[in-house]
Amino acid sequence: MPAAAPPPEALRAPLVVEFPFTRSLGPVQSAFLTGLRERTVLGVRTEAGGVLVPPVEYDPVTAAELRELVEVAPTGTVTTWAWNPEPRRGQPLETPFAWVLVRLDGADTALLHALDAPGPEAVRTGLRVRIRWAAERSGAITDIACFEPYEGDESTREREPAPHEGGFEEPVTGIVAPARLDYTYSPGRAQTRYLHGLAERRTVGERCPSCAKVYVPPRGACPTCGVATTDRVEVGPRGTVTTFCIVNIKAKNLDIEVPYVYAHIALDGAGLALHGRIAGIPYDEVRMGLRVEPVWSEDGRYPDHYRPTGETDADYDTYKELL
């Protein structure tokens, strides 16, 4: 079938990837986050004697295991900053704020957080700040709601941090870290053409000009020969079950009653099998070589399933390269 009309514009759709990851904290992060819950900021002392806040488990210079915790002050000094005029979802403050690195009194390193300030003119390197604690704290970095400018007692500024055992009642040992990524996904021109074909209930693959294999679904290029596949070829609608399994456990997010048959189906004329569900036959009667045809649902983009055509089974030799 020759390519007729100009190719349709490639499809686009949002793809949101979202998952709550869990984290085991280990002894040092456990003490740090539990400390925040109790309004206590802990650092760790390095082999060279410096104090790292937030604390780490292993010495960045010597690789030694670090376990000597110390308590630093809730006040500190801005070491550098950047104004954030348009806060995004999930950021610490909803109104414009400054991202700041704060060296807490007693620490030798700075902590990244948000500073609540009326505008960039109110922020400077060297600004004295203090922690504004969240009203409800759970043992997370968000227990520090943000930092705020602070004028007052300067006695903590040079004070040596006090040793701390790191022991708390009901320590936090793990956290949940929700992750979310927002993409705009485009399946590209080849699959867009394929999907337009499916909308008319036609399965149109593309033939490699070099090896002559017909790819269904098409990817726009042949992965073996590395050349563009431009020649469009309608395949099917009938095909052969080349291999399969019987699914006996319910997969998440799939509303299909078990057991059901998940099969590789080589549509007539295709150079490789695609995947689909077999129905219209008892699951334990499905076999390699079974001849099938697609069954479409009212609103489905893909065939809902494939059912037997009633033809004689295909001979193994006709599909053994298409498993």
Binding site: S24, P60, T173, A177, C222, T243, F244, C245, A251, L323
Partner: protein, 389 residues
């Protein structure tokens, strides 16, 4: 190996693999394996010139580029640190990248490590994003593999009991390996064969577990091996091959990339009859039926004959070609580390250091890994003496 220098494995360390290590962070987990490998080699962080680390996709634990944050825990500050990623085969290819650095005399002593903390991840989610316009995978993890197993059975006429023999053997081997995740003391062959059929023809007992674990090795040159406190394992050959996950003509039962990779390793090592010349194999068998499939793919049996070795007991710990004496992936599967565990267990065998699961007199052993829908293969062959020529 491609370079001039011989490569020796002088340190091996693993964590005790379990379902969930809630007591440690990822840093704490990798540190444990690394320290054990250094202790085994009687070396310190200062003796290491570079660190090569591998794991499966970042999406598994959701820590993007975890190697950045692990530099402190692995003593990599001020040294080159490389991350390798080749899906499930990554543990093997990570070891090979490290070996190549020594072989090419870029570095003298390299710490290589692979890990996965699957309890903090969701592998199924990480591998099946809800991509718009695409048909969702209809079958879950095993559903990807089960049709290939059926294809193997059809092609070879293997009886349907072979898979259960492999699972029973590997789980019993695991009882002799203190680091293995599954220690199923009460398992019987009858129980394996009676376990639920999840993705027919794959039963529950024929699938791998999900583990938290790490594995580390110290690789060094001839001079380093001369200072080693214990006999090293020597790398006689190592290779990687890739092919697309899907293409017209792909042979999922015996992928060409696997055959070519094995042939390259054997050529490097001067192996002409792997069945006779190799004493132990640690192969990547995530579902039990992959043992007979890989026996053919790796040249230990003619096409269609792999299952006969399994059936005859050849691959048992006391058979003449023991496969997965450690218990294999079927007993321990921190995905990113699983390939390196195969490589490290092969090295333990030729060092005579495998403890209760030692194969008597093992002088040459193959470590094998694959991943990404049979897309990546990596293998090495280790021996108890330095390579000649």
């Amino acid at each position: 190996m491609p370079g001039e220098e011989s490569v020796a494995v002088v340190g091996i360390g693993q964590t005790k693999h379990v379902a969930a290590r809630r007591d440690v962070s990822i840093a704490g987990l990798v540190r444990e394996a690394a320290l054990r490998a250094l202790e085994d080699a009687e070396l310190t962080w200062a003796d290491v010139d570079a660190v090569v680390i591998g794991k499966a996709p970042d999406f598994f634990e959701g820590v993007m580029m975890p190697e950045l944050y692990l530099a402190d825990a692995l003593g990599a500050v001020g040294k080159p640190m490389l991350r390798v990623h080749t899906a499930g085969s990554v543990g093997g290819s990570t070891a090979l990248v490290a070996a190549n650095l020594v072989s090419a005399r870029v570095h003298r002593t390299v710490l290589t490590l692979a890990f996965e903390k699957q309890s903090e991840s969701n592998a199924m989610w990480g591998l099946s994003l809800p991509v718009p316009f695409q048909q969702p995978l209809l079958a879950g993890a095993g559903g990807f593999f089960a049709p290939h197993v059926r294809a193997y059975m059809r092609r070879t006429g293997a009886p349907d009991t072979i898979g259960s023999l492999v699972a029973y053997k590997d789980r019993r081997n695991a009882l002799k390996n203190p680091y293995a995740h599954l220690h199923e003391h009460d398992l019987t062959l009858e129980k394996v064969q009676a376990s639920p059929m999840l993705w027919d023809p794959i039963r529950y007992s024929e699938t791998c577990p999900s583990s938290d674990g790490a594995c580390a090795m110290v690789l060094t040159d001839r001079a380093g091996a001369g200072r080693a406190p214990r006999p090293p394992a020597w790398v006689h050959g190592g290779a990687m091959r890739s092919e697309p996950t899907l293409f017209a003509g792909k042979d999922f039962v015996s992928p060409r990339a696997g055959r070519d990779c094995a042939a390259d390793v054997y050529r490097q090592a001067g192996v002409t009859d792997p069945r006779r010349q190799i004493d132990a194999v640690e192969m990547y068998v995530p579902f039990s039926w992959y043992e007979p499939m890989w026996l053919e793919n790796l040249g230990f049996a003619e096409e269609g004959e792999g299952w006969k070795l399994t059936e005859a007991g050849v691959t048992e710990l006391d058979g003449d070609l023991p496969v997965n004496p450690s218990g294999g992936v079927l007993s321990t599967n921190p995905i990113g580390a699983s390939g390196m565990i195969r490589f490290a267990e092969a090295a333990l065998q030729v060092r005579g250091d495998a403890g209760e699961h030692q194969v008597g007199g093992a002088r040459r052993a193959l470590g094998h890994a694959y991943g990404g829908g049979a897309q990546f293969f990596s293998m090495w062959l280790v021996g108890d003496t330095p390579p000649t020529g």
